[in-house]
Symmetry: C2
Subunit: 654 residues, 2 copies
């Protein structure tokens, strides 16, 4: 084995080289025909028999000797004696001589002595013993029939045929010994047809490489189990995600139980996985101690070829070997893990599975905003796509910040930025490698406030994308010209119109926004079911000893709350800040739409800021404080875009 070792930060090329030096290839397995679709043949399959295995009638009609039909036509048919019948699936019990014919059905074995056949449409059966139709075939009461021998069963042949006409000879479809399918063929339904015709029940295919997935970290909990957020537990994102990626690439994913941060347990699990699998992937924790445990096991018990790769994300990648298995350590952060998996690991699994690289679809678009790099590492930048009204593609980086687990679900592909690039300009053309060739830009890209009515309207659209960033960031993004629409909640901002105009003057992409819809929603205080504290309004929060839970300042609800408190302060002749300070928990702003309600359910607050709709859905009490306008605003340049028009229509219907 020719293994390369890189002790310093390896370049992406060196990382690929190290992975190629490992052997991930699984052996050969035999699969039954019904499981062969999509698998890759490892050996040439030659035909072991002729298809068909006999000379076969191609139509319903009469088998005969071609020379007996020479010169026959409509006016002067040949007259042959019918000496028997031949049916599909039966041995022909008859042979024929000069002047004779055998009635034959499609697919039947041609009888001995016959070298051609005539379809029934070009014949007339003349049953000598009766003037009626004898066999179900149409007969004409014409001169020939009168002339037919009254003692014999006769057919009139109204065309001449050459030897071989309407006969499929043995081996004409596939000949015994013929090369049927070559090694490396990825089996399609059409190939299944060929294999079926050859009677092949099992095919030798490349076994799927088994890929073990080991996750570490005391804080990780498998989906479906109970999560204790107070202990800092989070769901294990990487295990199932990487498993899905492994299966996508043609591997067989094997999930191993969680190991926590215990070194002995981790070593035991890694060794079990290495024993079972061609490749072991570790992924999961971002915690230094968990990563350290794995690193030490591989370095001491196996061998480490690469420790760190000069790519972002992906720097903490490990490449090595444990026992007889290859080993790759993925970064802990889910987005990083998936990007590294896609870039370095999936191609290696496909090679081992003999699956060709998928047709890589790329899209060229303009970058929607300037991006700075300048870290000297190759950058793999997840991006989303949005189409402008004139069909141009805008490309925007998808980044929820370090530690985000889910942003790839909002991305369409990746832009690779070379290490020497310091920045990419706003408007610069970039090439996006789509996550798969069938990725299409969303039909509509919306941002802003989370609202149940908007959610229901989006359900009526095909493939929309909506990022719940809150009202203010949503309006800011709309002004920057990337999304199609923004959803804003709460009192109108004073400078909203002015800002749009300003953006236009400064040559921004924005322009004035077009309002697609506007309605009001009931907001107020979400309280325990039945309102046991008898809370009647905001004044109770100020005056009584109640625990409140707020939303962040990005939220439109927070703006409406601020306005109502200002009104209350004006009524009382005091400053709003005095009232805000008097509310316990006013500064505790949760980012999430439903989080205040859930805090109330958990018993950690007596009242939370929220919507009537949320309270009703979660079976909580609700104290209305006011109504706030919701506005759906479209980028003026996109007002005629199909998805925008569809959203406008959907909003009218929900």
């Amino acid at each position: 084995m020719n293994r390369k070792e890189f002790r310093d930060l390896a370049s992406p090329d060196e990382a690929n080289e190290a992975i190629e030096s490992l052997s991930l290839e699984a052996g050969i397995e035999r699969v039954p025909l019904e499981d062969a679709r999509g698998r890759v043949l490892v050996a040439r399959l030659d035909a072991e028999l002729d298809v068909p295995g006999f000379d076969r009638a191609s139509l319903d009609g009469y088998a005969l000797r071609a020379r007996d039909t020479f010169g026959a036509d409509e006016a002067d048919p040949a007259r042959l004696e019918v000496v028997g019948e031949a049916h599909a699936g039966q041995k022909p019990g008859v042979s024929l001589d000069e002047g004779q014919a055998v009635e034959i059905s499609t697919g039947a074995v041609m009888p001995d002595g016959a070298d051609a056949m005539v379809p029934v449409e070009r014949t007339d059966r003349v049953d000598g013993s009766s003037a009626d139709q004898g066999t179900g075939h149409i007969t004409n009461a014409n001169a020939e029939r009168e002339a037919a021998n009254a003692d014999a069963d006769v057919v009139l042949i109204r065309t001449s045929v050459a030897p071989g006409d309407n006969v499929m000879f043995a081996g004409a479809d596939v000949a015994a010994g013929e090369r049927a399918l070559g090694p490396g063929t990825r089996i399609t339904p059409r190939d299944v047809g060929l294999l079926s015709a050859l009677g092949i029940r099992e095919v030798p295919v490349r076994a799927r490489p088994r890929v073990g997935i080991v996750s570490t970290g005391d804080e990780l909990v498998r989906p479906g189990e109970q999560l204790d957020s107070e202990r800092g537990e989070i769901y294990d994102v990487n295990s199932y995600t990487i498993a899905a990626g492994v299966e996508d690439a043609g591997g067989e994913a094997v999930l191993y139980p969680h190991a926590g941060d215990d070194r002995d347990e981790m070593e035991r699990i890694l060794r079990t996985a290495a024993d079972d699998c061609e490749l072991v992937l570790s992924s999961g924790s971002t915690s230094a101690s968990a990563v350290d445990v794995i690193y030490r096991v591989i370095e001491e018990q196996g061998e480490l070829l690469v420790h760190g790769v000069s790519v972002k994300p992906g720097k903490p990648m490990l490449i090595g070997r444990l026992d007889d298995s290859a080993y790759i350590g993925l970064p802990g952060y889910p987005v990083s893990a998936m990007m590294v998996f896609r870039t370095f690991v999936a191609p290696a699994i496909r090679r081992a599975a003999s699956i060709p690289e998928p047709a890589s679809a790329t899209v060229t678009g303009r970058l929607a905003r300037q991006e700075r790099y300048g870290e000297g590492r190759q950058r793999l930048m997840p991006v989303g796509l949005v189409e402008t009204a004139d069909g141009e593609t805008l490309v925007y980086p998808v980044d929820k910040g370090s530690g985000a687990t889910t942003s790839l679900a909002d991305a369409d592909g990746v832009v690779e930025v070379p290490p020497e690039t310091d920045y990419l300009e706003d408007g610069e053309p970039v090439t996006v490698t789509l996550f798969s060739p069938d990725v299409r830009p969303p039909t509509l890209f919306g941002v802003g406030e989370d609202d149940p009515t908007v959610s229901r309207a989006l359900d009526r659209l095909e493939n929309p994308r909506y990022l719940s960033v809150g009202t203010r960031p949503g309006l800011r993004r709309l002004r920057d010209g990337v999304p199609d629409v923004a959803v804003a909640a709460g009192p109108l901002e004073r400078d909203e119109g002015a800002t749009a105009a300003k953006s236009e003057r400064e040559g921004g992409h924005g322009g004035d926004a077009v309002e697609l819809g506007r309605w009001e929603r009931d907001w107020g205080l979400i309280v325990r079911a039945g309102n046991p504290d008898e809370i009647e309004g905001l004044a109770d929060l100020v005056d009584r000893d109640l625990r409140f839970v707020n939303r962040t300042t990005d939220s439109g609800l927070r703006s409406s709350l601020g306005a109502s408190i200002a009104d209350l302060a004006a009524d009382r002749g005091t400053d709003r800040h005095v009232l805000e300070d008097a509310i316990e928990g006013f500064d505790l702003g949760l980012r999430a739409h439903e989080s205040p309600a859930r805090t109330v359910i958990a018993g950690d607050a007596d009242a939370g800021l929220g919507l009537r709709e949320t309270a009703e859905r979660l079976d909580l009490g609700f104290v209305s404080v006011g109504k706030q306008p919701i506005r759906v605003l479209a980028n003026q340049d996109r007002a005629d875009k199909k998805g925008v028009l569809e959203l406008e229509e959907a909003l009218e219907r929900v």
Copy 2:
């Protein structure tokens, strides 16, 4: 239900309308996350929790109050008392006040009182009780450490941070109540990541429509079972092929046992299938009686909406309903069945499975030869593709004649020819819908004699295509300019050079052929193992009472045999036809390469025409008669095509 009934031959549009009027949609099922990849969500999934569920440290370092760091820098660090540690997966057992910090690891819960964190790289830990490194972090023996309070554990913070810096707030990734995935989402690995993060263990997806496959015909045998060719049995091609097509389209295929032609049995099986499945497909037999049985069951027990469609192939298609299930009857011939399935049935299954139509890849190329139609029916023409040296695509119809079961394996896509088209000219541009977007033209397209050496060379190429049509048809096709190479066996044809020249004069695509390789192969008589009849050569066939089995005149072996018999006739001073007439079975020409050998094995002949290599592989005896040249000839215009050069190299190595 709004069902259309077409008693006359329906147009393709009417057939689609009838299929759309049937309901194939299956219900909803819940699948575990590990099986969710590729499935289609039926309902919107909203986040039921915040991700992360707590304010989370993004790096290893120190949690603190941002205001305690204001003004701090390298030269003038802030000095904070370390009051504890917080680890990922553990409840922080500590809270902090003004002037205090908590050592924190990536992913840990931010302790109460902290609103920001500083990465360890921008800090120096000063353990008051010792001058050495106390905790594994690097410390500088500098002035600050000397100045540190000797009784307290102190960290020096060399940067200032704002509230929120290096903290991922609860809900920042996904907020509770947020719209996570919309209905209709086809789940990718990236979506599995989002679902994992939300702790969702099972997802509601569209159930795969169950498609029952019922095959009829007394002559059909399932692959893997014993075939009796004398009874005209053939392997059932359609069942497994259609099943693979159903799975490709997102359905679940259910194969029902063979029914033969018995009406009661057929009715019982159809009803069972209708009971279990959303759609029942019948396919299999070409025999009129089997088709008739099904037709009667549907017409009498269910309802028939369409009986025959004006498309070729596909005329005998049936569309209807049996009990609560949809029913579609496919044509019996495998190529026809598959074409109808692809065109009419697969799209309906995809709709029912909520799977989007695959990105349909099309290729435009020049038609390689004139094709005549003029039957007034829309034509679905399977075609192969071949690339010329300058990258142009030639399109040639793939047609092994009526009844061929396997030609689709040699095809790359379909050209749809409208009913009003009488013919397409040689060279006319046509649009080919590829069988799937990842279909690529073969790297090399060869035709001609079947030869074991050529087969081994082809095994070294990626994605070659080779049609074993025999020497003469192969050379003819090469002259017509479609294939890249032809393999010729046997004595040189007298007019071979002349014909190539003629083709050039007449403006054919051909030009002179370039020889890529030439070698000799041993041919002769394949006899029973050990040669019990002590056959020594051709003279024995003429003079003794031996049963011989020949190849067809297309074969190069037959040409060599003819030449040797002519030599023997010259020796004996007689005519070659006299000798040929004296050989029993001389006229019995089998098309298949190995068929004569297999006839000898079966005991139906004493000697067969064949190659030494075949005899050895099948453990038979061999009587050498001569050596014949094999030549691999390339179309002169393609001599530099990559696949041709690869074949030339491969031939040198095998």
